[in-house]
Symmetry: C2
Subunit: 434 residues, 2 copies
């Protein structure tokens, strides 16, 4: 049999204990932060009705939805009626629609769990991967924007990522930008899509695309790109936006979120970034992206999306949220970053007659909160069993042979120093501290 | 729009914060116990290759597998190539085959997570539900059997279920039973399937089925059922089994597991139950089932299955394991059984100008480990915001108006007593203890 038949399906992973330790460490640290902010956990099913998901992610997204065949008599039809969740936002919209009055308002929720996309698997790209979102649904307050940014900053600190910058802009500032530079309204959206490439392409290339593909006149394209990429871009853009109503409103949004997030993230990490577009799609207010030194792309992002829940089939309710790139964050942490807890006690078994005593010692230690394992192999040789204790990285080993049985004592061996002492069984949990 | 369009798919559930608290409490308590026993966590993908799952669960089981359509150019074919996992045992067999030498041996692993079955949804029966399994792979030691039983007993105690009985039998004792009562070998398996109904049917009905459907002669059927249901069934069966080699070996297995589990479960909870069959299928040694007073069916069960992993496509390796009925256990706990942690501090916002101060107070408290929420509504009235603080079940509310601003202090209101005091911002985390 080919050995790959035992691999997990393409684009998915098995997580053994070491991997899970790192993942759980990251999830627990983030969960702890979000709960301190008063965000509540939510868990929705792995699959949704197919019609809940289709048409929500554009043509490209729709192709990546994993569809589940109808069962029973309908199976032969080859039709699907369910689909694995593609993200956490559509389920959120459904939950807000379904439980509206049962939810606290504003509804502050976070979610951490797998989503599934039938993407082409590749380095760092999976078909099953964890998403971590937090959202405030039902508040238009700029403080809600600030809370989302702060919670993400605190979560990054909690997982040990301190060297990051939060790029901040506003959808309204972008509207003002287009007007301030006299970009024709009909090409505005397309121009922003091109400007979004300023972090990847050279300024000249962006100017070229604006002129060639977006039909912008060269002088406007040069001015726009020149100002956005200048050393004093922020000053130039603040001046330009100040002349436009949306521009001023957008600047005020940016300044308010920077002010409210500064106590947590530090003002120096919060950077007004006029060229930040963030795909544009559904955002209506503040947008932000977190970048880290030496890493391409972003490790977190989000923004305000006041009409998205309605467009996904939910009620018309304002919302602001963010997403942490947990898989990328986990990828940054080495397995050694989260040390495995040591086994407290490895209990040897010197003869079949002593098995019950071994189980009794194990029970005493476990009830006192220590971790303990009993030797489950067939050897009755001490040397073999002490090697097992060392492989299990035990702090102590217990030895109970004829001599100990006669004395009513048990030998406790310190696996690091090799020191041994004999103690009464009811003193085990005292001698072997937590 | 019909409101049920926002329900989760049939047979699945959305878990809001209160439900998740109970579930997480149960999972965490069990996880803690299993880790004290040295079991390692494992997590496999939600789906497996279709061929990994089909043919493993019998015809009835196969019908309940959720199949996932092929994507891309093959989608139109209506063929499936993946399927949602149906249990945790087939993925375990695949993992043991895939990672053999990387795993500690014996490999003691536990797993908690959802599985999916296209069953007809009903009261207490779901299409997405959690399973919780623990297994020892690679040990033939009877101590491994004992460890599994002990870990399950300790886990039940940890979730607050103390009033249970562990029924114990052995596959070899059943082989001996059939021989001791001279049941023809060719109907042995069928006879056991009928005897398995002794916990649901009356003895007469079981005798009737043995005679009518299993072709057992009436005298044998009467003797078998009479002895198994007698007040002194255990004595009668011990005597009968003592004359048969498999019977004696089975009794020894039962006695050893009772002896080794007694320090944890208590000898009075461990009951040799000669009529226990447990579906028979793949078990090769000890079998057990945990029943609780007043509850139909079982809340846990398991046994030794030395050739199952091989039959599922893995290596031929001995194993013993058990499964906790976590959904049933969760169903026994009311939401009130796990009290929600209270919000430590609700922070009011008296004017837009004070918003940054509110965020600063929140940051100070959160960094000191307290949970804190900032008011995100539009009202600037104190009464409205104190009602919000009460709704959020906050221990304290902070008030920061003009008077406080002038004094450089903040008012801390005890939400239970109504007492108020003014403190300096840097004293907040001192005044508001953990």
């Amino acid at each position: 049999m080919a050995s790959q038949q035992f691999d997990p399906p393409s684009g998915t992973r098995d997580f053994l204990a070491g991997d899970l330790r790192v993942r759980e460490h990251v999830f627990a640290a983030i969960r702890d932060v979000f709960q301190r902010y008063g965000f509540e956990p939510l868990q929705t099913p792995a699959f949704e009705r197919l019609e809940t998901l289709t048409g929500r992610y554009g043509d490209e997204g729709d192709k990546l939805i994993f569809k589940i065949l109808r069962r029973g008599e309908h199976e032969a039809s080859g039709d699907a009626d369910l689909a694995l969740r593609y993200d956490m936002t559509v389920p959120l919209a459904r939950v807000v629609a379904a439980y509206g009055s049962q939810l606290p308002m504003p509804y502050k929720r976070f979610v951490m769990g797998p989503v599934w996309r039938a993407d082409r698997p590749g380095r760092g790209r999976f078909r099953e991967f964890a998403q971590c979102d937090l959202d405030v649904v039902g508040s238009t307050s700029p403080l809600a924007d600030g809370e989302v940014v702060c919670a993400i900053a605190d979560a990054l600190a909690a997982v040990g990522l301190g060297d990051y910058t939060i790029l901040i802009n506003s959808r309204r500032a972008l509207t003002g930008l287009l007007r301030a530079y006299q970009v024709p309204a009909e090409v505005g959206g397309q121009v922003l899509i091109t400007l979004d490439k300023l972090d990847k392409l050279k300024p000249d290339e962006v100017v070229g695309e604006l002129v060639d593909e977006r039909s912008l006149d060269p002088a406007t394209a040069e001015a726009l790109v020149g100002d956005l990429t200048a050393a004093d871009a922020v000053d130039r853009l603040r001046a330009a936006l100040a002349d436009d109503e949306d521009g001023r409103a957008g600047l005020a949004e940016v300044d308010r979120v920077i002010e409210s997030a500064a106590p947590v993230a530090g003002a120096e990490r919060l950077v007004f970034t006029p060229r930040l577009v963030r795909g544009l799609g559904y955002y209506t207010g503040i947008i932000f992206e977190v970048v880290a030194e030496g890493m391409p792309g972003s490790i977190a992002g989000g923004g305000r999306y006041d009409h998205l829940i309605e467009s996904l089939g939910g009620p018309d309710i304002p919302a602001v949220g963010g997403s942490l790139g947990v898989e990328r964050i986990i990828g940054l942490l080495s397995a050694e970053a989260v040390t495995a807890p040591r086994l407290d006690v490895a209990i040897t078994v010197m003869s079949d007659e002593d098995a019950a005593a071994a189980m009794d010692f194990a029970a005493r230690l476990r009830h006192a909160g220590r971790s303990a394992e009993v030797y489950l192999g067939s050897s009755r040789k001490l040397g073999r069993q002490l090697r097992w204790a060392a492989e299990r990285r035990a702090r102590y080993a217990l030895i109970y042979g004829q001599q100990e049985r006669d004395a009513g004592l048990v030998t406790v061996r310190d696996m690091d120093s090799g020191d041994q002492q004999q103690v009464a069984p009811d003193q085990l949990a005292v001698v072997i501290g937590a």
